[in-house]
Amino acid sequence: MNSRILSLFAALALLCACERHTEVFFDTPFVRIEDANGMSSMDIDRNLNNLLTDIRIVISASKEYFTEPVTIAYEIIVGDGLQEGVDFKIQSSQRSPLTFSPGTYSLPIRVIWYKSSSYDPSKDHTLTFRLTSSSVPEMLLGLPGPDHKRNEFTFKQL
């Protein structure tokens, strides 16, 4: 009798195990900033002149969130060892904010680096691009997760 009860429970357990799970899709929109290799930083040789560097702001959003243009704003933080127009030049047309038309998921930010004639190692030679806002309120700045990785990109002139 006990074995029959056990068999019945086992069969029920198997049937339960075969029940279809409800699929849950991850649909949180987010935006990140990175280079072509998915990195968050890049070293710049101060002896190179006219070096063109290219990073990208990439948005990940389902069609539900992307029926209207999405605007992403970022800030530029220039270290005290760098001077715009002297040490680098940012493509003016790609300055914040950037507007993504539906169907466009990636836009570049380009920086040309000039040979540094006066390099003071005691100063901050970093140039940081940090995401600050999105026109989609639900959109996360950086990768989903507690650390918000790739919410900023830093160049460092060495």
């Binding site: 063109l52 493509q91 047309s93 950037l98 539906p102 169907g103 990636s106 836009l107 570049p108 380009r110």
Partner: protein
Amino acid sequence: MKKWISIAACLLAAVSVLVSCEPKQTPDGKCELLSFALTSSLNSALPADITGTIDASAKTVTLVIPTAVTSTAFIPSFTVSDYDVVTIGGKTVTSGETSVTLTDGTQIQLSDEVSALNATYTVVVKANDETAELTAVSFKAADNDLLDEDVVPEAIAPEMIVRVPGTAFQKELKITVEAGFNDVIKVNNTPVESGASLNVDTTFPIDIVVTDEVAGTSVTYVVKVGKILEYVIGKLGTYTEGTIADFTMTLNPTDNLPYFAYTRKVGEEKNNGVSVAKWNGSAFARVGPTGVADASARSASKPQVAFAKDGTLYAKYLGGEVASKPTVKKLDSEWVVVGTTGFTPQNNNTTYFYPFYVHPANGKLSLFWNGNTKSTDSYRTMNLSTWGGETWASSTISGVIPAYGSGTTATSGMYYTSSAVVNDSKVFIASSLNEFGYYVHEVNADGSLTTIVDNYLPDGAPQGLPGNLQMKQGPDGVLYVLAAVRAGDGTMQIFTVDQSNKTLKAYGTGLPVSISSSGGISQDFGFSVNPVDGLVVAAYDSAEGNTVFAYLDDNLQWSSFAVDSLQVGTSGFFVEFDKDGNGYIAYQSADGIELYRVGLEADVLPE
């Protein structure tokens, strides 16, 4: 009862008075459809709003509907002029509320409630092309002072490169863009109407995003603006071993590097020996042991090298071991005599260089020569010697060139010299014979000659001349010949070989040259053709005694390269291009062999 009737009558009268006092509606004199749209919020089948285009005169409303939308039932949103009522399919329609069937040809009827005016509009449904595409991009000269002509990419592609003159390079330019049906264009994230233009900083790549708003798709393009690259000359170095007497430059087809065979006298040596060196890409380097020839008894002259397809190197010279006869040596670890020294049956004319090559069709080592031993069949005519693996076989060429003395004088038909082109499978020679014109032959693998050009005489020239006669191969296998034109003041002229019509055709203007009454040319010329882009380059010593590097420009006029402080050339100008278009110019100066590189300047693209 009467009382109630009286009250009702009073009320009726009052109402009548009130109604008669209501302001009368004034017709606006219009019956027009002012706007017509299908919004996605009211029409779930639509991925985006569709705004109808109204043609008031044609009385049409054009709706561009994505091909993916199969529904024909829509709730339109529209505006009309005052007091107009809209009817579609017999149904009175309220904007934003009434669902109607809209297909191509559906009629929208308007009637003015306060006048007799009415109008009928016809719906025109167009399918969207569903494609976001850039159709044209250009930098127009009319918009850009820095450009002399419009600049466009070769084709519309995800990444496009356009080239502008140096004056416009890395400058701000105005770009014009055009896109397809229903497409919206953004250049560097700025909206631009199709056909309109926008200033762009060409220091950076130019991003173009085209969006088909109806289909909701986008395509991205990048335009990079580079400079129209110009040829530049750079000195590689000067080479000598003792004192160099003469030399030739030949490209090794296996390593694409220039090799130099030269006669030289080192230290206390009495006679000129022979050595071979090469440019190894960064410096000159001796190839094989010095002293190819045994010059202990007499000097060697007319040094040349030839390469087999596998890169095996052969050197040839006149004199040395045997006076006035050729010797060929192969480079193993040492220079090894091929067959015997001085192998031709008669002495050679030592005035000119003659073709020395490995025939690509059968790998046989061969050389042309002009016999200089009187009373022999080979005397002053064209001879060919071929290495058969065991012995050298020599024969006199006849039938395809004039026989010696066959012209108006006893020395007519004397074989002057030839210049050879050796490509992957064939050998061609261009030749000059006394009192006759220029000849071009294909040298078959069996040593026979097939005539391509027979006795070509340039206009006004009494005969061809041997001085500086050279033949090279350009793009698409076209043969080019540099030959003297003894007419008027005298020129060195580039010709192309028209193999179909078996003639030479002048190519570009001639270079001035001094030709003496006897036909002698005191200046030395070298030339070649870039096999990649067809650029013709010449190096020569001018009548004024200057060394000149020049090229035929787009108008086929000679232009000089700007080169600083060229050593004065004394003789032997050679120009060669490898298969990739890298060129070398070599000539002899008082210091030795001067070597220059000819190539396009470094490309700088915004990338």
